[in-house]
């Protein structure tokens, strides 16, 4: 699972470097953040661990997965939503101002 996270992050970085269309850049940033979140959760998982919720059937178990990375991911997802919201607002205003979504065309004007 660690490899999946890192591969997603690198796909996001590649998309960010090669694209000049604003919406595609925002999508690449989202892929980057998703990859990071998957990597964080994978750090908290060991061999044969179960979900960290106490129920009647597993009240005496000892092999729970690490709950701390999962809490960090909850926060990181919400922060990602916040930054995507303002990025999209700025993208909308840029389209209003320049009439195009392409960065190279905007820098030319």
């Amino acid at each position: 699972m660690h490899i999946v996270g890192i591969v997603l992050m690198l796909i996001g970085v590649y998309g960010l470097i090669t694209n000049r269309h604003i919406i595609k850049m925002i999508v690449s940033i989202n892929v980057l953040e998703i990859g990071l979140n998957i990597f964080i959760i994978a750090v908290g998982y060991g061999e044969n661990t179960i979900a960290p919720i106490l129920t009647k059937s597993n009240i005496n178990a000892t092999n729970f997965a690490d709950p701390l990375p999962q809490a960090l991911v909850l926060t990181a997802i919400v922060i990602g939503v916040g930054t995507t919201a303002i990025l999209l607002a700025v993208a909308r205003k840029l389209y209003q101002q320049y009439g195009t979504y392409d960065l190279t065309e905007m820098e030319g004007k």
Binding site: V43, P52, T55, I79, A85, I86, A89, K93
Partner: protein, 226 residues
């Protein structure tokens, strides 16, 4: 040309990461799960859902920061798109199925969302996904009807009040128990709905706050200039 350079750069990073952090059989080498800090949280849960007890009790300050991030994002969207006042008209007519479907689905989605944040300390989920579901239900209403506008002022008052109550609960913790954001109510029995002290209350506050904030953001995006 640029794509080639990008591919090479990314491949280089991948290679560096693999050489340094992974051992021979492509397993990530990390500490044993029994020695990590998170193990303490697993051994001393306050409510049944261990992740909830970490997010709302042990690391409550981080959750306050996260609520603030969402708040400042909604303020930022209001600042950028604040001048737009009339509802966007879609290029297609309203769909009949969508309109009727919303009447059935909207209450169901809202109930699922409310269930999620009220039971956040017993089942997976909690305030943030529950609030997002409520925001999603409102977005559903916006999409199905091209003349619909929610009462944004009521949602803004809800958002501000919930946030202030969260911070005030923390300050009450200083006055009553000597530490900020201390859990001052009775913990109760593990597994009951009314247990965990302040934790279900905070999750209800967060769920309502996130729902109203997302509704406000969607409303700003659904407007355009005259």
């Amino acid at each position: 040309m640029k794509k080639l350079v990008a591919v090479l750069l990314v491949g280089l990073m991948l290679l560096l990461l693999f050489i340094n952090m992974f051992d021979g059989s492509l397993e990530f080498n990390k500490m044993d799960l029994a020695d990590v800090d998170g193990n303490y949280y697993a051994k001393n849960p306050i409510v049944s859902n261990m992740v909830t007890s970490v997010v709302v009790d042990y690391r409550s300050f981080d959750t306050l920061g996260e609520v603030t991030v969402l708040f400042v994002s909604s303020l930022g969207v209001a600042f950028m798109l604040g001048g737009l006042t009339t509802r966007i008209k879609f290029k297609h007519d309203d769909s009949f199925f969508l309109r009727i479907g919303v009447k059935v689905l909207f209450p169901i989605i809202v109930i699922v969302g409310v269930f999620m944040f009220v039971h956040g300390h017993l089942t997976p989920g909690g305030g943030f996904p529950g609030g997002a579901l409520i925001g999603g239900a409102m977005l559903f209403k916006y999409i199905s009807d091209s003349k619909y506008r929610a009462k944004i002022s009521a949602f803004k008052v809800l958002e501000g009040t919930m946030g202030s109550i969260y911070v005030l609960l923390g300050i009450v913790g200083i006055l009553v128990g000597n530490y900020f954001l201390q859990n001052i109510l009775d913990i109760g029995e593990l597994g009951n709905l009314i247990s965990g002290g302040l934790i279900p209350i905070i999750y209800v506050l967060i769920g309502l706050k996130v729902g109203s904030e997302l509704t406000g953001i969607f409303d700003h995006f659904m407007n355009e200039e005259v």
